[in-house]
Amino acid sequence: MTSIGPGSGALRAREIAAAAMLAAASVTVVTIGALLPRTGALELLAMIPLAVIADRFRIRALIAAIAAAAVTCFLIGGVTAGLVVIASGMVGGVVGAAHRRGRGAWTMAAISAVLAPIAALAANALLLLLPVTRTLAIEAVSGTVSGFARFLSLFPGLGPVARGFTDLAATVGTSWWLWVVVGMLAAVPSAVFITWRLLTAILARLDWVSVDDPLESAHLADSENAVGPLPVELHGVLVQHPGQALPALDGVDLRVEAGEFVVIEGPNGSGKSTLALVLAGLAINGGRVERPRGVGLGAVGGTALLTQRAEVGALGARLVDDILWGVDDPTSVDVDDLLDVVGLPNMRDRATASLSGGQLQRLALAAALARRPSLLIADEATAMVDAAGRAELTDLLAALPQRLGMAVVHISHNAADGQRADRVVRMRDGRVEFDRAGPACARRASMAEFAARALDTAGSVDSPLVRRMPQEMRDRRPATVAPLLRVRSAAYVHALGTPWEHRALTGVELDLGPGDGLLITGENGSGKTTLAWMLAGLLRPTDGSCELDGRPVADRIGSVALAFQHARLQLQKRTVREDILSAAGRAARSKHRDDNAFAEHWLETVGLPAGLADRGIDALSGGQQRRVAIAGILASRPRVLVLDEPFAGLDPAARGDLVATLLAVRDETKLAIAVVSHDLAGLEELCPRVLQLQNGSPA
């Protein structure tokens, strides 16, 4: 593995992002170590992320990461934490750099042999320069050691040992420098060796190879050009992703002009997203792309691309920071107006971390519009928004060509979106199946009206879900059988007794019996996830009760299963098989002699091929990881299963499959299921009952 991109020069976006994330990982570890002295050994782990940077990126990225980590740690955890991170960066950096060159134990020994004397010398020089600190340290250490000696001398027979410690304490004062040398000779090689072994174990499993972003390379090549992406014409474009048998695009012709609303549809894997990347400037392997001037990705008047996971890319800490991120002239942007248009009114100073997935997608659209692009490409960019919000945002996208004269290319699963298009392009197997005028062409006049309406209503977002819910779903029918899980007037207050006290739940009542299905829904911040954690016993109600078979769930964590939204963190083993077996626990799999058949059975239950069992966890896609996590949970034979946003990021087909799987398991095993979801579509059968939360209370 060699360094990415140019060997010199400023860091690229990909490198800065990696340095920052790995620095943040180190900061997290050191901070927890500093605040919880009991977990002090944790601080050793801070070296690992920094070693990864040195292993995979340039030293320049490592230095930026150390600087960022040190200043952040200093503020959060004080001076010790800051110094720990700098030292970790040095040791981790050297080990990572050696590992990158494929060096082994001997090199690590040599590194220790060089580093330990340097560290001892530096520490001794510091102590020599700081006489007051030195005296204090000597007094404290020798005092504690001789105190220990006096303690030992209380026991008969330990006299010689106690005298030994007394002598030892005396040497601290006279030859403190020797103690430092001995300490460093012990500490540095241990740190080097542990870091090296862990780094080797982890990097063998994780594929950090994709350190380069092809879109970034294309953007850097384009950045010298003047901006002018429209009209863009594709002639016989061929794109072949490395390592794949079939081309992603094969002979695609397409023309996009200013003022057009083009909808691109087609099944998964038909090349829609690749087409979006080509429009955004990705290098092609055949054919040609003609534009008057440069693509201008992210430039004023250039091209804006909203990706499928637009909800994860918010760069700013506050909404306003995110919208203005990288904008040359912040005064040219009316942030409040933009937030209004995308349906996030008066949220300028809110933290991006507090937004829901749907709100983050709205924010991504606002950030794109801030650059007044000529070409806006939206690749499934409204998937996390609930149904009503999605229609609203699609209206907004459809209105932009008329209102601002930009071209909008909207990639969508939703067939109804084609109704608003000037042109509909259907993709299949990397080719254009058809490209024809959409219905909207005939209704140009009504489009303006449409636009006005969309912009008017954009302010009212996330209208109470309950209004869109069929009447019969709102009825909270009592459970038909004796409940397993019983929640009575339960309340939860986060950070109780601190200035940040926040009441998340009040007066929640619910019963869940065998074979039951309950949907827990509500707006962002309504307490859905808090309730899910409470149901699983991870949070103990601050008032009221949450009981399984009459005993508090919090006393037996694990008796109610919980599938987290972030599946990767739930998977804890190296391979799919190991993880399913570990999740199942010994009791559940004791009936099966054959571990392989056991894991494969549960893989098939969740609709995954049995052949996946030997794969590494990190070789799976996000959707597959979520299914494996659910397979492991089902294999543990829970009686109650809580799923937190299990459909986030899944396309409609995958979502339908997962619902069918859960339905089958529920009916077969009388499993009680509670689903936490902001999106109600298609859940009527799985969850006949609905609990609507509003500000932490049942609505």
Binding site: I32, A67, V71, T144, H494
Partner: protein, 253 residues
Amino acid sequence: MARPARSNIASVILRVLPRETALHRAWAGSKLLALTVLTITAVVFPTWTSLGLLCVVAVAGFLVARATASAIPRFPGAVWIVLAVTALLAWAGGGLSAFVISIALTVVLTLLAAIAAWTTPLADLAPAVAVLWSPLRRIGVPVNEWSLTTALAVRAVPLFFDELRVLVAARRLRGGERVRGVRAAWGALADVLTAVLAATQRRATEFGRSMTLRGGVPQVAIRRPTLTRGDVVLLIIAFGASAVIIAAGILGL
């Protein structure tokens, strides 16, 4: 009535006190600078004088920020026991005074950092650091990329705390499985770290792509901060206290 969940440290660190005080209004850079100066002098001169002065400064800051004792995270009982035992040993060996100074200084310095954190939104940290670092550009330090890295790292730290919380919860839910022996513990450690780094890697890819989509690596605007009277008072106190500590240290007080 259940026991309140006070011990959840992740829920109380990195959070700004919901108040409007002079310290909240002060520039983040002044607070960082004050903190740095006080920390350095205390490390060079760990004496009763510095401890006393820093306590006064910390109490004043605590009052100005209108902080309450309830904002301080609770430490687990084991920490207090270890501290008490060590103190007892140090007392028996005649090193109690040195032990008290070193522990108390660490606590006061952490408290000073906490006061800065309680009054500074994380979003304000990176721009302030960029200004403080800007003189280093003259000696060729790539301040722009350091500042951007800091801004993104600061943005990501709360996300990591959340992820760590989920990771711990997921392990508790699985329960049952005892880790026996060094080899098994080592394997479990590698498993956890791999999960954390996989999440890190995903975020790095996403943030990198997101930057590219916004036109790549921008130039961070270094804006001269507008200093208030509070900033001036804060810096005078910090530098004044440091000067007294240094003078006392040199005179051997």
